[in-house]
Symmetry: C2
Subunit: 309 residues, 2 copies
């Protein structure tokens, strides 16, 4: 199995969906990968995808799980305004798991984000755990942290929310026929990598990806920046509810703050990307969390599968 | 729990056993850590420690598990001739697991290796899975790969082997009173980081850490370098058997090859480290795997706990 996986992971040129190592680089097959680091600072993150917590294998495939493990990590880099470079993947799986299918999903996602899968670790285990670590670069720009929002900054979101939660609800009810977009949003979430880079370049002061739910993720930004949050509206995905848009996690849209006058709309239009929606403003009252004048419920979203238990 | 863990992971200066971020660096608390990359090439590896496969929580503590997760990764960097820089740690654990104890073991190991724990991910799960990814640097030297052994190169090992396997056997038999060194070798394996750097600097052509067992790990080097292996002797840890020294994994000593005349002994003496033992020679017959003229059994060691099932 390891030899087959290594062949998929690259090391030789010309393999589909994979980046070949540059001169001086060594990908999988040794104790560690040898990489040319980016100029400037290095981003590094790790995220786990655990069967029974983040994924339910009765509602999606092993390839979906592999896709998701890469995407949630790419989203962490996107939320810094960065571009992902390399991933290493740890897979712990029960005997009999089709590891080729897991790898297929990972490779597909790596190709989508232009990231190289450069090594990994494979072990048995009682249930499926996918652990991916990722590197990235901001290409010389400052990374966009959670701490940089200032009073008066406008709050933007890169797209409508709640699709993943709505897709999960449909799958649980086995009503999937006419809602493939929502189901796909749950099974194959897409990290907004280009959007994160454009947001950073257009003056974003703070940014986070919507993994736990808009309310909770914005609460992190507000708490760590010392500002209040006053929302005027929230874009809801077609087929989703307001509750799913506010509390449903795993949409992986980016929420960011930027000073009034920052060229957000122009920058996204120039990049050929959907223009973000302006959803509110950062206020001086650090305790404020409001939507249309009402208190914003800070609902926790302990990841899709678990929340239904 | 996350806030407590973050406090342990650093972000502020002066915390015991942890390295503080340099200006321009951001450790835990955001979507990704922001790091100053090393000059020259970057090493990157990931290794999982899984309950029921690599660890048995009835034979060691949660802190031992945390220690081990860091050490096996530091050993991957050591086996490249590198120095570990940063780790990110993913922890998936059943409800009720004492995460502070897991973190204690990780922090202790990080302090021992001078590596900074810069971020992580925490999630529930049915059994304990620790996933650590690590970066490192060779400080401008070429990394030592598994492919570089040449016929005529001498084979060296940094210390006696079999202690971890012997310690596990003692723990299973509950005979631990007079063998604390062996038990400690199993519970708290030490990555040979300084040894790896000195081996690389003294001319090592190929190197690997003894994680699966000497026979199997040397077989990797031989196969990937296209040389044969002729062993003349193997240093056995006091209290261990020859079988444990050849087939027992998880000693994390380093095995390396170097041309005759390379200043291995002098370099280790100058560094104040125990001098490695010369155990054999690389031969032109790529199929040869022998010990004192007898075929060397290439026993697999599917990690300590599992091998007893």
């Amino acid at each position: 199995v390891l030899a087959r996986l290594r062949a998929r992971l690259g090391g030789g040129p010309g393999q589909p969906g994979l980046m070949a190592p540059l001169p001086g680089e060594v990908f999988s097959g040794d104790d560690a990968a040898v990489l040319l680091p980016p100029a400037g600072r290095l981003l590094l993150a790790i995220d786990l995808v655990v069967e029974g917590v983040h994924i339910d294998l009765s509602l999606g495939s092993l390839a979906d799980a592999g896709w998701k493990a890469i995407s949630v990590n790419a989203s962490d880099i996107a939320a810094m305004g960065g571009r992902p470079l390399h991933v290493v993947a740890g897979v712990s799986a029960p005997a009999g798991t089709d590891l080729d299918e897991v790898t297929d999903g990972m490779v597909e996602a790596c190709a989508a984000y232009g990231v190289a899968l450069v090594g990994g670790d494979l072990t048995s285990g009682r249930h499926l755990v996918l652990s991916v670590a990722i590197t990235g670069t901001c290409d010389g720009r400052d990374p966009v942290l959670r701490t940089g929002a200032r009073r008066g900054d406008l709050i933007w979101v890169t797209g409508p929310l709640g699709a993943s939660a709505a897709g999960l609800e449909l799958l649980r009810g086995a009503r999937t026929e006419s809602h493939s977009g929502l189901v796909r949003a749950y099974r194959r979430p897409v990290a907004r990598v280009r959007e994160g880079v454009v947001a950073a370049a257009s003056g974003a002061t703070a940014m986070i990806d919507v993994s736990d739910g808009l309310s909770q993720d914005l609460d992190h930004v507000a708490s760590e920046s010392g500002v209040g949050i006053r929302l005027t509206s929230v874009p809801i995905a077609a087929g989703a509810s307001l509750e799913q848009a506010l509390g449903g996690g795993e949409d992986y849209e980016l929420v960011f703050t930027a000073p009034e006058g920052a060229p957000v709309v122009q920058a996204f239009e120039a990049a050929g990307l959907a223009v973000p929606t302006r959803i509110g403003i950062c206020t001086a009252d650090a305790g404020e969390r409001s939507l249309e004048g009402h208190p914003l419920p800070i609902t926790g979203w302990e990841h899709s599968f678990r929340s239904a238990r």
